[in-house]
Symmetry: C2
């Protein structure tokens, strides 16, 4: 439920909320690039400042990497404690030349705000801050206790987060955790995510000849590392869409009947999706629907590849080196440690004798499945109905949020509410990322309702 007072406040302060979001988005807090280190720090300070303005005691905690912002609301005796997770760092904006407006100069067009981080995760996280502000302004006090935990390395694998959780685990024990980093199922179909895929991400660097070679003089007598790499990568996928790594599917939990039934009812607009993607057919693992492939089946993708001459014109070279970045999305109960073992062995077994291969583990995350039947989940369901005017659907997401596992494991936390107000076609990780401003407002409403529902 959402009271009239809170509802009105949110409506009346919309423009100021949007302006505040724009200010937050204008800080280029790109965690992956060292030249933005100072901007990342600025964004942390900005978040801390906003929390303090709401009466939270907040601090910017240094780590070995980017800082973590920790804020706690004034104590409400006897009320439950909700831990809210978000991240203030954003993906790199490249390729820059494909943005209509600059990635860090937020622009409002057609009811959307366009900027890197608009949905992932600044717009979504800010709804929690604005919900607090709205409740305080309308009701004078919060109905529950809140801890806001906002990190700056989510886009680069959250390297400092685990150590922080371990060091602060007593301080962070809560009745439930809300993760701001989720998504609606589609525009107009708010969702609660109950499953996430896991992730393994590797870089393969391969060298065969000692030096670059003239392809006339040496073509036909040596292995070309690009050919070897292409052959290796091609071998990872079978024509039926499955991943060819031996043992890859051993630990995959089959979907339960109720899951397949429910997934089949999700309102997927296949034509709109094809249009968005610019394709006429959607492909993937035989025997599974589009949504099942995305949410409940593991995959293999090459994220980048390079080698040899990439410049203007023709250079008849056999390069010495080639490389690729590859990743696998995992599902319960696949273990990324086991998959890494299988992967490394497979690569080693499929290299010619003179290949010098280096495999670097760049990041990883375990897959997640959360029970839908808890009181916290039911509260979230009612809160979204209040905020959006319709019940949420339950989905298994295709992406990974590594911190969810860390929170589950280190804080012994099973009540994980994976919520989100942005949409899959908002371009997270792509140029022209955006966030619907009406959904920004609905998200603030839902979050405020959530606080009241959890308080009982």
């Amino acid at each position: 439920m959402l009271s009239e007072n809170v509802s009105s406040y949110i409506e009346n302060n919309r423009d100021r909320f949007v302006a505040d979001l724009a200010e937050y988005l204008s800080i280029p807090s790109v965690s992956a690039l060292s030249e933005h280190r100072d901007d990342v720090g600025k964004a942390a300070e900005w978040v801390k400042g906003r929390l303090e303005m709401l009466g939270f005691s907040a601090r910017v905690c240094p780590t070995d990497g980017h800082p973590i912002v920790l804020g706690r609301s004034p104590e409400v005796a006897g009320a439950p404690l909700l831990l809210v997770y978000g991240h203030y760092d954003v993906q790199p904006p490249d390729p820059l030349n494909e943005w209509v407006s600059p990635p860090f100069a937020p622009d409002i067009r057609g009811g959307y705000i366009y900027a890197r981080g608009a949905t992932d995760d600044k717009g979504q996280f800010l709804t929690y801050v604005k919900a607090v502000e709205s409740i305080l302004a309308a009701e004078g006090k919060l109905p529950l206790n809140l801890i806001f935990l906002v990190e700056g390395e989510e886009e680069i694998g959250s390297a400092s987060f685990e150590k922080f959780l371990v060091a602060h685990k007593d301080e962070l024990r809560a009745n439930a955790v809300a993760i701001s980093d989720g998504s609606q199922f589609m525009h107009g179909a708010p969702a609660i995510t109950y499953g996430l895929r896991g992730l393994c991400y590797f870089q393969i660097d391969l060298q065969i000849p000692r030096i670059d070679l003239h392809s006339g003089v040496f073509g036909g007598m040596v292995h070309n590392p690009i050919q070897v790499l292409a052959t290796l990568l091609a071998s990872f996928k079978k024509p039926d869409g499955t991943v060819a790594l031996p043992g890859f599917y051993d630990d995959v939990l089959p979907m339960e009947k109720w899951e397949r039934d429910m997934t089949a009812t999700l309102p997927l607009d296949v034509d709109a999706l094809k249009n968005y993607l610019g394709v006429t057919e959607l492909v993937g693992e035989t025997g599974y629907s589009i949504l099942e492939r995305r949410g409940a089946r593991p995959t293999f993708d090459v994220n980048g590849i390079w080698g040899g001459f990439m410049g203007e014109g023709a250079k008849t070279v056999i390069p010495a080196r080639a490389g690729a970045k590859v990743s696998m999305r995992l599902v319960p109960n696949q273990s990324y440690a086991r998959i890494e073992e299988i992967f490394r062995k497979y690569v080693a077994d499929n290299m010619p004798p003179d290949a010098k291969v280096t495999i670097t583990d760049l990041t990883s995350a375990a897959p997640v499945l959360v029970s839908r039947d808890s009181a916290a989940m039911r509260s979230a369901e009612r809160a979204i109905e209040a905020g959006f005017g319709k019940k949420p659907v339950f989905v298994r997401e295709g992406g990974s949020i590594p911190v969810v596992n860390l929170i589950k494991n280190h804080l012994k936390q099973d009540n994980i509410l994976l919520l989100g107000w942005g949409c899959p076609d908002d371009g997270a990780h792509s140029p022209n990322e955006r966030f619907c401003l009406d959904d920004f407002i609905r998200g603030i409403r839902s979050t405020a309702a959530l606080f009241f529902e959890l308080a009982g």
Copy 2:
């Protein structure tokens, strides 16, 4: 034969010849890169100037691309006319960080001069100029007529050369043509090349999704263009080392017995070759020796590949686009037009429906086979014996020289002498390209002897 006068002159002027070569090498005449356009012009002027200094009437002829230098020696009545071909442009020097000394700051170490173009083709071409100088200084006049035809686009496919030949064909009729762009078989084994491989070179650009995609949200439902490209490229080669294109071998002329016998006697130091290449095994088409694979069998190579995220760390993207540069070395009687047809059809037949593929023809050359039994060939054989102190071996080269075909076809010229003084391990097209200064001198001696042998 080489007279004592000419021989002494060459020996006594060695240092000055080397200094002159260094000056020529210091001009960064990189034809492939537009930022070096002026340097290319400078190199043309340098060549023209050197020819004029020798009494040639010379001019720098503009073309739609880089200019062509044309020089003619003073007429010697009743003597044959030799057309000498060379090129004053060089390959791009990248990767720059692998050069010990800068590519355009010639450095002499261990008896070699190191610079881009040291062997290909500046060092080799300059031997003809120095041979003329030496004969004029020692004997007062040349024994034959010479035309020097020096282009500036050999490294980028000689686009202007054909038009020039057609426009000047009457002016360029000669009794024989010497091509400076060949190679010794190996250090200490001078060679005459009687065969060249042909070349087809294509760029494949592939796009599937409309935009870059988040691999969590969309992984498992769309074709990844890197995966499609890798699978395509992998399919071009079979495990036995042959090229899988249907019909690729249809027109290949089998080697004759005498060729296979002779090739088997060539003094190939396999261990030194493996060492140079940094490999423990040499691979290639089953049923053929190393040299047969290089000289008389066609091949397929990927020269460059790119797509997706290549930067620091992990970006979980499915890119919209990927691309590659591929080339095929051809042998007589394969036709590059026919191979291009086969190639384009094969790519089109192996693309998923939503793939948008563009194939760009970047350059091509027909394969070449020259008769070894002509008077001109015999003259060249004696000249090299005089210059190097040993008979040359006869080899089929692995590389391509497109202008040879143009000369054959447009100038109706069969007496083509493919000569060279550099060696395969000189790093043509690689960093730290070099030329042995003793061989520079032997080349000048051989060229001077050639002029006398051809004059009869």
